[in-house]
């Protein structure tokens, strides 16, 4: 059996598959179907300092090869997570990544400080949520914003810090480099691409927020390209996500430069996708005569 372990900024994952934030809640639902230790890690639903009700419905629209969402960071707040979700999650035998979003750099810093006192394994900083008016994405679309919020969090964050980048930028490499320079231990990309659908009869956008974040197979090639570009610019690990649906996609994303992977939207079609992707990945490593999954990271042979 080839070794599936990966090291992500000092944290050892049993395999490179992480459930993507916002698609997996705090693990309880899919935990009905298989042990959560099946996964290398779980990136929890995005947390804010205080509880957020989220956006009004409809929040979901299907698109060719994917979907739009505008959930709007509905979450119980960081303290509720620590009190009610983390103790249970901690017992599931997987790496726990807390995902945080704030309105100001100070809010991000405060959450990172609070979570540093807990036994979460890692913090993922979401500076790329397209669905909330304030916070999130405005920090993620300029180098200055990435630098400001990352360095603010870095000062108080005692956990490995991963910065989740937005694809709604002209140069993803610049953003990854800015995160690294400001002290990030890893970057994850891509968050969703901003999109829109309109009902032609009512002339209303299908999503109540008008726009939403596009995910699913439709964004996969964009994600592969951006992971490839980012991986060339930084020395810290790049976690690849965006439309991974099959084990072949997982291999492709690793080859592009990803050290670990996140999967999300595919779960809605097939809740057992992580199990199938890991089986396929293991088989592929055997067939290729590779002893470790890490040998695939960045092994693309560009023309």
């Amino acid at each position: 059996m080839a070794d599936l372990h990966v090291n992500l900024a000092g944290v050892t994952l049993a395999n490179p598959l992480i459930a993507a934030s916002g698609t997996f809640g705090f693990g309880r639902e899919y935990g009905e179907l298989y042990p959560l230790s099946t996964l290398g890690g779980i990136s929890c639903k995005g947390l804010t300092l205080r509880e957020r009700p989220g956006n009004p419905p409809p929040r979901i629209a299907e698109t060719p090869g994917g979907m739009l969402n505008a959930v709007g960071l509905q979450n119980p707040g960081v303290e509720s997570f620590i009190a009610h979700e983390l103790p249970w999650l901690r017992q599931q035998g997987t790496v726990v990544i807390a995902n945080i979003a704030g309105n100001t750099p100070e809010e991000y810093r405060e959450m990172a400080e609070r979570l540093s006192e807990t036994d979460v394994d890692m913090i993922e900083m979401n500076i790329s949520c397209p669905n909330v008016k304030q916070g999130g994405v405005q920090f993620g679309t300029t180098c200055e914003g990435v630098t400001a919020v990352t360095s603010a969090v870095r000062r108080s964050c005692k956990k490995p810090l991963m910065v989740k980048l937005s694809p709604n930028v002209s140069d993803i490499g610049e953003m990854a480099a800015a995160a690294e320079a400001a002290g990030a231990d890893a970057v994850s990309l891509i968050n969703t691409l901003t999109g829109m659908r309109i009902d032609i009869r009512t002339r209303r956008p299908i999503i109540r927020n008008n726009t939403g974040g596009l995910s699913g197979p439709a964004v996969f090639p964009v994600a592969v390209r951006m992971v490839w570009q980012a991986a060339q610019r930084v020395k810290i690990p790049v976690v690849g996500l965006g439309g991974i649906s099959t084990w072949q996609d997982a291999v492709e994303m690793l080859l592009a430069g990803a050290a670990a992977l996140q999967i999300g939207t595919v779960l809605f079609q097939d809740p057992y996708a992580p199990v199938k992707i890991l089986e396929g990945l293991s088989r592929f490593l055997e067939e290729e005569g590779l002893s470790s999954v890490t040998e695939l990271t960045g092994a693309v042979r560009p023309w």
Binding site: G22, T23, F24, G25, R28, E29, Y30, E32, L33, K45, P53, G54, N55, P56, P57, P58, R59, I60, A61, E62, T63, G65, G66, M67, N69, V71, Q74, I206, G216, P217, T265, L267, F268, Q269, D270, P271, Y272
Partner: protein, 254 residues
């Protein structure tokens, strides 16, 4: 035991009840054993990112079978409707919180509108003659499942918008006054009216809601619905996990 699971379910029987509305019985194994009235299933559509949420119409625990009655609403449901007997649907079920039936010796009223009628059939079964099924449709030609309710002993009251059969008007115009509980599913304006009807009479009412949905299990928080909060304010609950059936007095209609 898993509360829900994915299973390849062979189609045992398929028929088109009225144009565009299909009845499908599937062999569902342990999913049927776990299912309760008012719950739903998420059915995968090849080539589509999202499963289609379809309510469970009948549960045959002896044969481990589930019945779905659904309308072609778009490409996804059209693909599902084309599946012939012998082929299999990929089903994630049973999902959500169904009807709480309580004491079946009470006189109760099931109120359905259009394609909201199917999830009431299984729920009305144990009430037999104690249940009135007030079923509203656009027109006579769109009416479905009337004989199914009659066969299980329920008293059927038909209403049509155009008066082509039964009572001419809204379901709230022909709901029996002597009922002790109401269970409803249908379009939002109907649910609002039924909830108001029940509230005026102090009769407990449960309603089944619909919303655009992604995961179906409570993980993605996509299918939000506005609920009254304990502190007098409101909060967003989720149709897939908190519902689809809610106490009507907990739902805030927009």
């Amino acid at each position: 035991m898993k509360a829900f699971d994915v299973r390849q379910c062979r189609i045992l029987r398929r028929e088109e009840l009225v144009p565009g509305v299909f009845s499908v019985w599937v062999e569902a194994g342990e999913l049927a054993e776990k299912a309760a009235p008012g719950q739903f299933a998420q059915i995968a559509v090849p080539g589509k990112t999202l499963r289609r949420p379809i309510s469970i119409c009948e549960i045959d625990k002896a044969r481990c079978a589930l019945r779905f009655v659904f309308q072609i609403r778009g490409e996804g449901t059209e693909i599902l409707a084309r599946y012939e007997e012998g082929r299999s649907w990929d089903i994630l079920a049973p999902l959500g919180h169904g009807f709480e039936l309580g004491d079946c010796s009470r006189k109760v009223c099931f109120v359905g509108g259009g394609i909201g009628v199917p999830p009431l059939l299984e729920a009305a079964k144990p009430f037999g003659a104690n249940a009135s099924a007030v079923l509203g449709f656009r027109t006579k030609a769109a009416a479905i499942l009337l004989s199914d309710f009659e066969r299980q002993g329920n008293r059927v009251i038909l209403a049509t918008d155009d008066g082509s059969a039964g009572f001419h008007g809204l379901v709230t115009g022909c709901m029996p006054e002597d009922c002790e509980a109401v269970f409803a599913c249908g379009p939002t304006p109907m649910l609002r009216a039924v909830a108001a009807w029940a509230a005026e009479r102090g009769v407990p009412c449960q309603i089944s809601l619909e919303q655009r949905m992604a995961c179906g299990v409570g993980a993605c928080l996509g299918c939000a619905c506005k609920l009254k909060a304990e502190d007098g304010g409101w909060r967003f609950g989720h149709v897939c996990k908190d519902g689809p059936v809610f106490r009507a007095d907990c739902v805030l209609f927009e």
